[in-house]
Amino acid sequence: MAAVPLPSVPIPFEAAADALRPGFTPRAWDSGPPVATARFGLWVFLASEAFFFAGLLAAYIVLRGAAGTWSLPLDRGLGVVFTALLAACSLAAGLGARCLTTGARAAGSRWILVAAAFGAAFVALQVHEWQHLLQSGFTPRASLAAACFYVLTGAHGLHVLAGVVWLAVAGFAARREGARTLPAELAVLYQHFVDAVWVVLFLILYLLP
């Protein structure tokens, strides 16, 4: 087997590397859709996140279908409060994003910090609810329903926590003149998603049983 005995086209292995064109700065092109790359990336990420929660919910449905009894001694009133908190959070975040896009930095970042506060309140309240339930003997090993409750709210709660941190950091950073506002806007988008997920959890955990 000689070097490379090739038919029609011999491979010009040795082809001299033609001179590089010095001082050229390669460009990154944008082939649409007309949104910031980072924002588009977040969309894709959230789609993937949606599948994560879909997986958990599918498991919830299967387990619930298999189980004989299914009791969740949850306080609906509290559930409403949770929902209200996250609604407020989304609202404030949305306003903040609006302000940022219209250039009102100070107001924007203030609203976003308010949103972060609401989110923080949600997490704090949830921790409190957990403590209460655990003391009342409603532990993960008590029943499948309980276990599902803790996994679902736990997974969601961690997402809220992440959102809060992101909102706080990005919202604070956005106030400085000349700072990029996109991170804050993305944090807001993410928070909207997390809040939307809560609505589903509220439905299946607090309302339906």
Partner: protein, 585 residues
Amino acid sequence: MSPTTHSAAGAAHQRGWLRTWVFSTDHKVVGIQYLVASASMLLFGGLLAMAMRWQLAWPWTEMPILGKLLFPATGRVISPAFYTSLFTMHGTAMVFFAILPLLTGAFGNFLIPLLVGAPDMAFPRLNAASFWILLLAMGLFLAGFFVEGGAASAGWTSYPPLATLPSAAPGSGAGQTLWLLAIVVSGVASILNALNAVVTVVKMRVPGLTWMRLPLTVWGLFVAAVLQLAALPVLTAGGVLQLADRWIGSAFYTPMGLMVNQFAPDTAGATGGVPLLWQHLFWFYSHPAVYVMVLPAMGMVSDILSVNARKPVFGYRPMVWAIAAIAGLGLIVWGHHMFTSGMGLEIGRAFMISTMMIALPSAVKTFNWVATIWGGRIRLTAAMCFALGFVALFVIGGLSGIWLAATPVDVYLHDTMLVVAHFHYIVFGGTVMAVFGALHHWFPKMTGRALSETLGRVHCFGTFVALNCVFLPMHQLGIAGMIRRTADPNVYALYQHLEPLNRFVTWSAFALGAWQLLFLVNVVWSLRSGIRVGRNPWQASTLEWEAPSPPGHGNFDRDLVVECGPYEYGDAVGTNDWRPQAKRT
């Protein structure tokens, strides 16, 4: 984006070795990091396979040299418990830490920006992060060998309750916990990686590079990334539930009233859990995952075939549609892994039919490959040899899949060695052959030097022969009823006459393993003294060949404008027999 007037190697002088090769965010460096890490895992998984083969040929006999190092405790003999860990870790290492990262990580990172004319991935830092997260996952995975009870031992499929109850198997203690963590963490890495791939392909194509002008390699990698984004989170969810069962005492997968090793597991669920739930969540991901392990390979093979046949890919659009169809159907066939789990009549029917249908797009691709080289001017480069090998072996692996898809036949063949034969033909005969081919094809672009063609062909033919000797007889073993995951086939009178076959397979496996070292030799030798190449050693038309070899930071040193499809070869494309995608300026 810094100027591109220096190659990665040149960059070393300016930015220091560490920042160039270790803490770099350049997609090419990250890709090569992925390549080294996952190739090492391939090697490691291969070594585990050698140990398994030893056991299956000469059960409970002292292993010559390695035995002393590996299992002094059990008198140089593989213990039953260790055998279960062996195939569990082999399968996991190969699927999650070798093949998936090789395709989506190594080639995905290295090729996607080059093939779409982008200076880098969309999110370079995220990209680098994904590699380090994967490395962490690999660490957790390997740590399993050193914890009490040994590595996970419930199979790469980790079915509960065997996997979830520490009392059920030694490896189901700390080992299984580490296994789960490794899977979840590597999942995070894969998601970031897939995210990057999708965004890069959608947002960063150079002007003129429309969707229907993308090389099939990009299509394969892109669709594989989409599959990852859709299916992987579901496995993560399942993994979270398994971790919950271990950590917070829930009983998602543990039914009531079990007696394991004389005592009941302390998961006092008021209502018992559902073991089959895990199987659904696992296969909802792991079936698509097998297509993630083949779609990019198919794409790269299509490119290699076309370039070296000096002829356009036959039926480009059907090829793209086939990729899409495989991915789409791939999401609704997972049940074919569970035909014997007590699945109902209608559901079984539905899963069988969808599974049969998924053979159709694969068949279309096969015939298009043949038509692509039909009447071509074939250059039998090493890459081409591997690509041809891929087609031949994929067909064998695919056809045995039809047996398995047929529910009544699968009732007999399920969990026999035929299943093992089936997927090794596709995964080693197919994907790994494609990976070797792709390495020969793109190594010049990665390093500026070509791998030795002669050594490459020798390696190819040897591997081709050896792996057939390894995996062909496995069909017979399975048809004769020999179950998989058995540490000693001779326990059953039924299997004793299969011993010669098992021994033959093992000898062949040793040959196969040893032969792979040729490749390592080739890599090492070529890195130092391989032929230096120009930008386009294969006279290929896709964009990566516009860049210097190896491309500097930022890849390209001129603005590219694409004016034609990726496969313009033959007599009707201009003065040469090939026409570059990028307009000549």
